[in-house]
């Protein structure tokens, strides 16, 4: 078992690793930029940062095709970037602008880009889990080999939609991949204080799903588990389940501080997903300081342009009919 997995991880090419590293860094720097702009009052509203969890979005989406569906969460910037959304339009949406991803109608929690398979974030914890069944149903109905991914958290695993959706997915043999990002916190409540039975993947197994427990900070482990599961889903149909154990470095929302056990955050920072991949690539001699600097610089340029675009973007026009009416 160990050997097979090692071989698979080794099969991931250098260029793929570089791309994953670039995405991890892009998401991290994007979130840091969001924090900065939020503090300056440019980014507004309820902002849920993804820092610490980047390996989950990048590893899972690496296993997907453009046309595969992703149903995201309130903490969805990472999923959007891993699904290759344009960061300028995402940033403009976070600023409430007319040329934002959702025309300023959705904000941070409601990023959509159906052309890239991103079917929206969600402001309701657990609300998007059943929607993911729909993407899988559409694929099954049309006879395509697309898959659909429902991202959610350990918090959502305590919502009724979780159990209902697992049963329906298994019953209908829907190609939906449930990805539980167990980030240890539901809003500010620690996992141990919200969840009686700690093995979330075990709950999925009790509904008849095959579930994997994955180190959610190791992007290659996530990618491998996702790729294996997605391949099986494309070939044989039926759902899959990954419990990715990770850690939310930032507070639940915005900059409202929350309390952590002494040393807890610092302990997880040592298992930083960027550091893990970087360390591995350096050890394998496929990444040197110059190459890393180049990636950082490229990300920096991309974000500078994104912020420039967003800051210059016009505000929505309250007089325009499409803003005042919901009918299509």
């Amino acid at each position: 078992m160990e050997d097979t997995e090692t071989v698979r991880v080794k099969d991931v090419t250098r260029s793929e690793r570089i791309e994953m590293l670039r995405q991890l860094i892009l998401i991290r720097r994007f979130e840091e930029k969001v924090k900065e702009l939020y503090n300056r009052g440019l980014v507004i509203g309820a902002i849920h940062l993804y820092i610490g969890q980047e390996a989950v979005a990048v590893g899972v989406c690496r296993a997907l095709r453009r046309e595969d569906y992703v149903f995201s969460t309130h903490r969805g910037h990472g999923h959007a970037i891993a699904k290759t959304l344009d960061v300028g339009h995402v940033m403009a949406e976070l600023m409430g602008r007319d040329t934002g991803m959702s025309r300023g109608h959705g904000g941070s929690m409601h990023l959509y880009d159906p052309d890239r398979g991103l079917m929206g974030g969600n402001g309701i914890v657990g609300g998007g889990v059943p929607l993911g069944l729909g993407g899988a149903f559409a694929a099954q109905y049309r006879g395509t080999d697309q898959v659909s991914v429902s991202f959610f958290s350990d918090g959502a695993a305590n919502q009724g939609t979780f159990g209902e959706s697992l049963n329906l997915a298994a019953l209908f043999r829907l190609p939906v991949l449930f990805v539980c990002e167990n980030n240890q916190y539901a809003a500010t409540t620690p996992f141990a204080r919200s969840t009686a039975e700690a093995d979330v993947a075990g709950r999925a197994e009790s509904y008849g799903l095959t579930a994997e427990r994955v180190d959610g900070n190791d992007v290659l482990a996530v990618y491998e588990a996702a790729a294996k599961t997605v391949t099986r889903m494309r070939e044989q149909g039926g759902p899959g389940f990954l419990e990715c154990r990770t850690y939310r470095i930032e507070p639940h929302c915005g900059i409202i501080p929350d309390e952590r056990e002494p040393g807890e955050r610092e302990g997880w920072q040592e298992k930083d997903p960027i550091l893990i991949l970087r360390g591995r690539m350096e050890a394998e001699n496929i990444l040197d300081a110059a190459q890393l600097a180049e990636i950082e610089a490229e990300v920096e340029r991309e974000l500078e342009q994104a912020v420039e675009f967003a800051e210059a973007a016009p505000w929505p026009d309250p007089a325009a009919e499409h803003n005042r009416d919901w009918v299509v």
Partner: protein, 329 residues
């Protein structure tokens, strides 16, 4: 297709689904018991035999999950028809209806559309108590993102549902349980009734009565009983949202008097909304204070004596008409 025939209200609903499924491969039906049992009210009878389990999908009792599944499928380009066994049960999946189905299109900047019909039966008069007798139309009129349809005739039941299925917005299509076995003469073949057009069910010059769903027939009965003394004009909006205000305002301009009736609770309800709109848009036409009539402000009671008293009946409507006109008798 010449000639007329007589069919049930529930047959009209079945025909609408059948025809739209024949026309559009993306249309499918999902809900509890819709396949093996044809639904508890037999509205989907025969559809699984015609279209198979791929397109007629029975579900476990999991409203949140299958509402969400259907909403997600609509976002991905299918056109689901979701059967709600009793509209009361929709409350178990309310987040999927309001936060998801109703909101996603606008929230996405119209990047995704949600062409979906939630249809189910509602109403009172069958002694099933509060959790099986709810009228939920007012909630959905109050929710941006849903069109709300309440057919009160067999002809409309079919024509409105076909339009609802072809609409690109979420539509709540409310079937009156008591009317399921009502028979009416209708044409053969296909017809559509556009959403957003009211029907004048009875003409009259003395008072405008706007009535919805099950209240339409009761209002007509009341109007016939008063004929000769008071000529009431009965308007059935058919679609509560979007609401055909032109027809209502034109009538009030002629009659100068308005009674709005619904079977649901009157407080902050649809009938009150009609009064608001007419007060704002046609106040000068009103010669006397308008009135909204609806159910008592209680969960629908079980006992026949209480239920009948709690919900507006033909008799209550007749009295209300006379009260609005200042004629007590």
């Amino acid at each position: 297709m010449e000639g007329k025939r007589t069919i049930w209200y529930k047959t009209a609903i079945n025909e609408a689904m059948r025809e739209e499924m024949e026309r559009d491969e993306n249309v499918f039906v999902i809900g509890e018991d819709v396949d093996i049992f044809g639904g508890v009210f037999k509205i989907t009878k025969g559809l699984v035999e015609r279209f198979g389990n791929r397109r007629i999908r029975g579900t476990p009792i999991s409203e949140a999950a299958f509402f969400g599944l259907a909403t997600g499928a609509a976002m991905c380009g299918l056109r689901p028809i979701v059967e709600i066994m009793y509209v009361d049960f929709a409350l178990a999946g309310m987040d999927q209806l309001i936060n998801q189905a109703a909101s996603s299109c606008y929230m996405s900047g119209r990047k995704v559309k949600v062409p979906i019909v939630f249809r189910g039966q509602y109403g009172s008069g069958t002694r099933e108590a509060a959790q099986h007798s709810r009228s939920i139309e007012s909630w959905f009129v109050n929710t941006p993102g849903f069109k709300v349809v309440m057919p009160s005739t067999v002809y409309d039941a079919k024509g409105l549902l076909k339009s609802a299925i072809r609409d690109d917005n979420p539509v709540l299509y409310l079937e009156n349980r008591v009317m399921y076995t009502r028979k009416q003469e209708v044409p053969r073949g296909e017809w559509l009734v556009p959403l957003g057009q009211a029907a004048v069910r009875r003409e009259g010059g003395d008072i405008t009565v706007v009535a919805t769903g099950g209240a339409v027939q009761k209002a007509l009965t009341a109007a016939e009983e008063l004929a000769g003394t008071v000529e009431a004009e009965v308007i059935d909006p058919r679609t509560l949202d979007p609401l055909d205000m032109d027809t209502i305002l034109a009538s009030v301009r002629r009659t100068g008097a308005l009674l709005a009736v619904q079977e649901g609770v009157v407080k902050a309800g649809f009938a009150a909304e009609v009064i608001r709109r007419v007060s704002e848009e046609g106040f000068d036409s009103l010669k006397r204070p308008p009135r909204a009539l609806g159910a008592w402000d209680v969960p629908v009671p079980f006992s026949p004596v209480l239920e009948d008293a709690a919900i507006p009946q033909a008799e209550t409507i007749r009295s209300a008409i006379l009260e609005v006109l200042g004629e007590r008798r």
